[in-house]
Symmetry: C2
């Protein structure tokens, strides 16, 4: 049983204080699916252009990611370019060419529709809602969004996340969505909007999980050196959902708080590996054994 | 056996996004000693002016803090006024009147000199060194410093912290002292400077403990609402050292990593309570039972 992942597949250019790359594979769908693929079978839905390189397609299939839902359209692949500030917790966008992504209208292959797990990367909320409607009632639906949709498509976004089990956003988005200034108050308000579980990503400061009667706080894994944070939040989501799909979590039964907490840690672990190299480079060599070793290290450095 | 605490006793004025107070009891020595007093007997060394209010003195003695080393000098008590920015993680100083603190030359009462635990709040490094020299070889010496001394008294500071078991600083100070940009690399360099244990405080983002062969990462306790962060870092140090003194930690024997980790959590707990009210207000009602309950909650929200 697979995790269906929907989102952008892109080429990125990044400038960091440590170096820059003009063009590399990126996009939320790419990062999420690579990270999740260590835990569960993954099927992706996205769109690329005629410039999409065979070796990049190969990277996905090498990780057993089902690309039947990856549409190839006339035109160029979505391109994004950004620059990180000194502290690497913030960045500015220098260029966004939507290209074939502008008219992305995700259509699920038949083989995807009865899968139990669905993770909706950040795309227009109405499209996210439409994807879920194509599924035959997934057991667990989760997704991400961004400040743009909170700002210009708030009603659509609210209607969309009302159907989700898990919403994954960052702290700035949580403040914006809730109108509150403290994380705990934001979480209370957002859980009232529908998602039973809220994950708040805080970049280099860790992540938090909130439910009505449970919450969990994880620090970030302290990397010796941070190369490129692009995709780390998506890898977090991929690790989190991948782990839950891998253990076959069934939210129709009672949620298991301990397994949710562990999923946060696996998410953090995947985000930390992502930052060690530019783009998706780290996933070319990363092994499940390395992931489990860092998970155990996480336990060791946080237990008291 | 007591913890000797040296540092500023002050009156503070603060402006926060939630309100302001013109004048309230403050100073590193005050916050440290109040926080530590829940775990161990405390003896303080500091200086106040003739304006120091009896009720403020009373607050300290009510918590069984020995004030024999609190000198009363002619003149006014140290006064500091600052304003917090919206996110409360940063502030600007509006006014600093050193007053009697300008010529503070700490002299330890005889009854202090054979105590086993010494915590040096942020004062001029040479004064910190002089205080330690007055002690008859404390079992455990720790201290704090600030960007000013790293900048203008680096050599004195290095000679001072070389004798310490524990250095407690914030992340900006760690970067400044080490010349590194990552926390782990900073920690490696600073441990080479002498302190066997380094604590890096990160405000609302938690704290980390580093030793040569051990490290520990704690998130901050997620407060529902943050009133005033003034003194939180000092309360962290007070909780950390107070706990270690309370259990009679003897660093001449092997350090106990688990107890050090627990001390970080007690430090975080004390810092979190401090932020709940302006200044030292929270310590007027805080009980050890509340502290232990939050410590247990910390375990619950970080275990996986």
């Amino acid at each position: 049983m697979s995790l269906v992942v929907v989102g952008s597949v892109a080429y990125d250019g990044v400038i960091t204080p440590h170096g820059s790359v003009d063009r590399m594979l990126g996009g939320a769908c790419t990062y999420i699916s690579l990270a999740a693929s260590y835990f569960t079978p993954v099927k992706i839905v996205g769109v690329v252009g005629t410039d999409f390189a065979e070796e990049d397609h190969q990277l996905l299939t090498d990780r057993n990611i089902d690309t039947d839902g990856l549409e190839r359209a006339d035109g160029l692949t979505f391109f994004w370019r950004g620059e990180y500030y000194e502290n690497m917790n913030q960045r500015k966008t220098l260029q966004t060419d939507l290209n074939v992504f502008e008219h992305f209208n995700p259509k699920l292959p038949e083989s995807y529709k009865d899968q139990p797990y669905l993770l909706l990367g950040n795309i227009q909320p109405a499209l996210q809602k439409g994807v879920r409607a194509q599924m035959k009632g997934p057991k667990l639906t989760g997704g991400d969004t961004m400040n743009l949709w909170i700002d210009i498509a708030r009603d659509e976004l609210l209607a969309t996340i009302a159907e989700w089990d898990v919403l994954v956003i960052n702290d700035e988005e949580a403040y914006m969505l809730s109108g509150e200034k403290s994380i705990r108050k934001s979480a209370e308000k957002i859980i009232e909007m529908g998602p039973k579980t809220l994950i708040i990503k805080r970049g280099g400061d860790g992540a938090m999980l909130f439910r009505k009667d449970h919450y969990f706080v994880a620090p970030a894994y302290p990397l010796a050196s941070l190369c490129d944070p692009t995709g780390a939040g998506d890898c977090f989501a991929g690790g989190f959902f991948g782990y839950l799909a891998g253990i076959g979590l069934d939210p129709a039964k009672d949620f298991d708080a301990t397994e949710l907490n562990r999923a946060v840690i696996y998410g953090s672990v995947m985000g930390s590996f992502c930052c060690e190299r530019f783009g998706v480079e780290r996933f070319r060599s990363l092994s499940r054994a390395e992931i489990d070793a860092r998970y155990e290290e996480f336990r060791k450095i946080t237990s008291f």
